[in-house]
């Protein structure tokens, strides 16, 4: 369990983290989403007690990081790729970490095997690829078998196989009942991995909600309508409660009515249509729109989740891009 209360971090005149309050609960993967430079890494360093907040506080299992009895046995973190000495082997790096918290040396070999670095454990870590470096970072985070885990952009630089490995690892850690907090600037990745979302933009909170709700809210569904008699159709659609906008090419974008309902209305009023196609914006577009101007969306009432078929449909669409 991680609890942040009113976290503020300033660098000179820039406010990197602006009054963040959120909770990260055990048993699920919580995605920490925001564009690059939005304050995710700074927030994570404040959780770890590495950077001091200018205001506010953050607690892990009810205590500030500095008060933890055995920090590595309670919290594990992958904060940056290649946070190890290039001249030291993975085994020695992990041994040095294990010794600080009285973790048995056998655990070093265990996590090395767990992350698949067994064959290179005694090679100088400076020769590692980015992906191998990320795996060593994962091993460092897991060395104390902690109940709380933080990962800052863990899939950066990984190949598709590595990405799938990280995804499964995060999910299995959460399934164990651990608290898993993972940052990313990719909504599509979070849609696949996370159960819950904390979304920030320019250091400020934009949304905190279940992923399913975010997808439902974000995936703007609309129906594209073309035809020779649209002037007559618009008042009919308005009358049925739809929001109608006219695109540059003269087509209508209709929000709030299913395509079948629009077709029925056109037929009932004997209006000819040339196109009637349901559309949905990608999650990534919705996320960018959301974070583009955080003020516009902050405090908006969240609509209830829609049908799950649509959610997974749009998720799959994003993944294939």
């Amino acid at each position: 369990m991680i609890e942040a209360r009113g976290l503020i971090k300033r660098y000179g005149k820039t406010t990197a983290v602006d009054d963040l309050t959120f909770e990260v609960r055990p048993g699920q993967v919580t995605g920490f989403l925001g564009p690059n430079g939005s304050g995710k890494s700074t927030t994570m360093r404040m959780i770890m007690g590495l950077d001091a907040p200018d205001a506010g506080s953050v607690r892990i299992n009810g205590r500030p990081y500095g008060d933890l009895s055995w920090p590595l046995r309670e919290v594990g973190a992958l904060l940056e790729a290649k946070a190890f000495h290039p001249g030291r082997s993975a085994a020695h790096h992990l041994t040095a970490l294990a010794q600080t918290n009285a973790i048995p040396t056998a655990r070093v070999d265990e996590v090395i095997e767990l992350v698949g670095l067994g064959s290179v454990a005694h090679r100088r870590a400076g020769k590692f690829s980015l992906g191998m470096g990320q795996r060593l970072g994962m091993a460092s985070a897991l060395i104390g078998d902690p109940g709380v885990l933080l990962f800052d952009e863990p899939i950066n630089g990984l190949d598709p196989e590595g990405i799938r490995w990280v995804r499964n690892l995060l999910k299995s850690l959460a399934a164990d009942g651990r608290t898993v907090f993972v940052s990313s600037h990719l909504m599509s990745e979070m849609a696949l991995t996370a159960d819950h979302l904390v979304v920030i933009g320019r250091g400020a909170m934009i949304a905190e909600m279940p992923v399913a709700a975010f997808i439902a809210q974000s995936s703007q569904h609309f129906v594209r309508v073309r035809g020779p008699q649209l002037a007559g159709l618009i008042p009919v659609l308005h009358g049925a409660g739809a929001t109608v906008t006219t695109d540059d090419d003269g087509a209508l974008s209709v929000v709030g009515l299913e395509a079948s309902v629009i077709g029925d209305l056109a037929g009932a009023n004997q209006l000819v249509l040339h196109e009637l196609s349901p559309q949905s914006a990608s999650l990534e577009e919705a996320f960018m729109e959301l974070t583009h101007d955080s003020v516009e969306y902050r405090g908006d009432p969240q609509p209830p989740p829609k049908e799950s078929v649509d959610q997974f449909g749009s998720t799959e669409k994003v993944r294939s891009r």
């Binding site: 369990m1 055990p26 048993g27 360093r45 770890m48 007690g49 590495l50 950077d51 001091a52 299992n61 990081y65 500095g66 933890l68 009895s69 055995w70 920090p71 590595l72 046995r73 309670e74 919290v75 973190a77 904060l79 940056e80 290649k82 946070a83 190890f84 000495h85 290039p86 001249g87 030291r88 082997s89 020695h92 790096h93 041994t95 040095a96 970490l97 010794q99 600080t100 918290n101 009285a102 460092s140 104390g144 078998d145 902690p146 109940g147 709380v148 164990d176 009942g177 651990r178 608290t179």
Partner: protein, 271 residues
Amino acid sequence: MSTTAIALNGPEGHYRASGSLRSEWTKLRTVRSTVWTLVALVAAGIGVGIIASAETASHWSTMSLADKVGYDPTNLSLTGLALGQIAIGVLGVLVISAEYSTGTIRATLAAVPNRPLVLASKAAIFGGVALLVGELVAFVAFLTGQSLLSGHAPHASLGQPGVLQAVVLAGVYVAGIGLVAMGIGTIIRHTAGAISALVGLLFIVPLVLQAFPSSIKNSVSQYFPSDVGSAMASVHRQAHALSPGAAFGVLCAYVVVALGIGAWLMVRRDA
């Protein structure tokens, strides 16, 4: 989903200094820079001492009276430590600056959030190794130097008054400069910058002082690290130099100030 069962799996109590010390020992012995800087210290400390002693042995008969008056065979054989101090200084800087440049410091501080404890553990392990190697170099340099001098020029033995103390303090000086360098590394956090500052302190500042009137020069220069080192490793006290005991006190003050400021900044600054 009970997380407490997973979260609280540590033994009774709290992370300890013993773990931090073991970790720092592991880190120090598992990088090549440790080996290479210590090899450089041994080579410079013993090698330069051999050259200086052999040179004096061969020219003793033709040396001027003034040179013979100030002659201190113990100090002569320990000359190499004036060069060797750079090697231990580089290692002292690297012990901490490499953590910052690689990002390892975040892992270290996540494992041991008590920052003064981290710095103290580092200082204890590195200082201990520096003292051990420093004493080794001092004694080997002294013994080889004296054996080269014997038969050609007056030479010293460990049984003579003040000689053992000078050799021991020479090794202590090596460890002290290493710790001062570690303090500078903690303050500056960048390897190149910290090594430049160290070289400036050891060699450049004394050079600049040569431009000042001798009244100022003579009263100030005895407090500079290099002069302090020379005073500690001397049997015959030179003009405008501290006694070995006072010099040791000044060295301790340098160590306390450098590491003290380093610790203060480390606690205050973001990692």
